[in-house]
Symmetry: C2
DNA sequence: GACAAAAAAGAACGACCGTTCGTAAAGTAA
DNA sequence: TTACTTTACGAACGGTCGTTCTTTTTTGTC
C-alpha cells in the first residue's frame, strides 16, 4: 500500500548519490528533482522542508552504513576477526553500497559540526552509535583474551576512526593508490601494539 | 603604497573566520560583504571571481597554518622534540590563529575532494606540502637515531594525520572534552611503537 | 589645490534557492 | 463505475547567488 513510500526511498537513493558526489550542501531541492525526474514541488511534498530531507538522508545513510559495514561483520567470530572484518568493510563501504564518491556522513559531519539544529543532532547520534559499536567490538577482543585486560576500547576506537579518516583523505583528495594499503597496515599495527607483550 | 592590499588582507581575515564557522561553501560574496562592511561589488572587485576568492582564502589559510604550526616548531630540536611540538601546535592551531571554529582547510578538503578545478588543485598542493613536511620531520628523527632506520616516515605521517582528523571529529562534532588528551596519548603511543625495541 | 589612478558603491541582470498554493493525474476501495 | 485520497505538477513568491556595468568617492602625486 502506498506508492509514496517507493518514491520516497527512490528519492533518498538519489539523495545519497548526490551527497556522495557533491557534499551535503549540494543536496538541494532543484538538483534532486532534476536527478529523479520529479518536479520540485512534487519532490518537496515528500518531506515538507529541506531540513527534513537532510535528516531523512542522514538516517538513510546511517542505516545503509550499518547494513554494509557492521551487519556482515557479525558473521565473523567475535574478537580480532570481527574487528578486521569491520575495518575491511569500512574502507570499501561507499563502493559496496553503490556510492561512487565520498562518504555522505563524513561530508555532513564537517559541514554541520558547528551548525546547531536537528540535522546535527541526528548526525551526532549516528557517530556516537558508531563509536559505541566500535568500542564494543574492541571490548569483545578483550573478552576473548586476544587483547589484554588493560586495553582501552575507547582509545582504540578513537584511533581506528582516525585511520579511516586518513584513508578517506589520502584516497579521495590526494588520489593516492596506496591509501587502503597504508590504512590496513596501520590497523594491523594498532592491533599488534595493543596485544599482550607476547 | 596602495591601501587595496590592506583591504584585501582584511577581507581574507574575514574569509577565514567565515570558512571556519560555516565551512567553505558559506564563503559567499554577500556574506563576506556584510561581514566586512563593504558592498558586494566593492569586495568583488578585489578578486574578480568567487573562485579566485576561494583560492586566495586557501592560500591565506595555508600560509597561516605554516606560520602557526611548523614555523615555531623549528625552534625545537630536530627529532622527537620537534615532532611533539608540531603535533601540539597542530591541535591548537585554529585557536592560536584566531579562528573560533573548525579548520578551514579541513572543511575545504572534504567539500572539494571530488570537484576538479583550480580550487581543488591549490588544496591538494597544500596537503601534499604538509605531508612532505611531516614526513621530513619523521625522517629527521630517524637521522638522530630516536627512530630506527627501518621506520617508514610516509606511514607515520599518514597515521599522525589520521590522529589530527580524529581529534577534529571528537572535539568539534562530538564535543568531547577528552579529545585532545586522546590524540596526545595516541601520538605518544605512535612514537613509542616506532622507537627501537629498547 | 588640481588631477589622474585606485577603490568602493549602487543598481541591475539572470539563475537558482526553498517554499506555497491551486489544480490535474494516478491510485485505491466500494 | 463511482467516490475519495494520495501523489505529482505548474506557476509564482521573495530572497540570495555571482557577476556586470556605471558612477561616485577616496587616495596618492605633482
Amino acid at each position: 500500500m502506498g506508492k509514496g513510500e517507493d518514491t520516497r526511498s527512490m528519492i533518498l537513493d538519489a539523495a545519497l548519490a548526490q551527497a556522495s558526489e557533491g557534499g551535503f550542501e549540494s543536496l538541494t531541492i532543484g538538483t534532486l528533482a532534476a536527478r529523479t525526474g520529479l518536479s520540485k514541488s512534487g519532490l518537496f511534498a515528500h518531506f515538507g522542508s529541506r531540513e527534513e530531507l537532510q535528516i531523512a538522508a542522514i538516517d538513510a545513510a546511517a542505516a545503509r552504513f550499518a547494513d554494509t559495514v557492521f551487519a556482515p561483520a557479525l558473521l565473523a567470530e567475535r574478537g580480532l576477526p570481527r574487528l578486521r572484518a569491520i575495518f575491511a568493510h569500512w574502507l570499501r563501504w561507499t563502493d559496496d553500497s553503490g556510492l561512487a564518491y565520498g562518504c555522505p556522513l563524513h561530508a555532513a559531519a564537517i559541514e554541520f559540526d558547528d551548525r546547531p539544529g536537528p540535522v546535527r543532532d541526528h548526525l551526532v547520534g549516528h557517530y556516537e552509535r558508531l563509536q559505541r559499536n566500535l568500542e564494543r567490538a574492541f571490548a569483545l577482543a578483550v573478552d576473548t583474551g586476544e587483547l589484554p585486560a588493560d586495553a582501552d576500547p575507547g582509545q582504540l576506537a578513537f584511533e581506528a576512526l582516525g585511520l579511516v579518516f586518513a584513508y578517506y583523505h589520502a584516497a579521495r583528495l590526494l588520489r593516492r593508490a596506496d591509501a587502503a594499503e597504508r590504512a590496513r597496515a596501520a590497523f594491523d599495527r594498532l592491533l599488534a601494539a595493543a596485544a599482550p607483550a607476547a
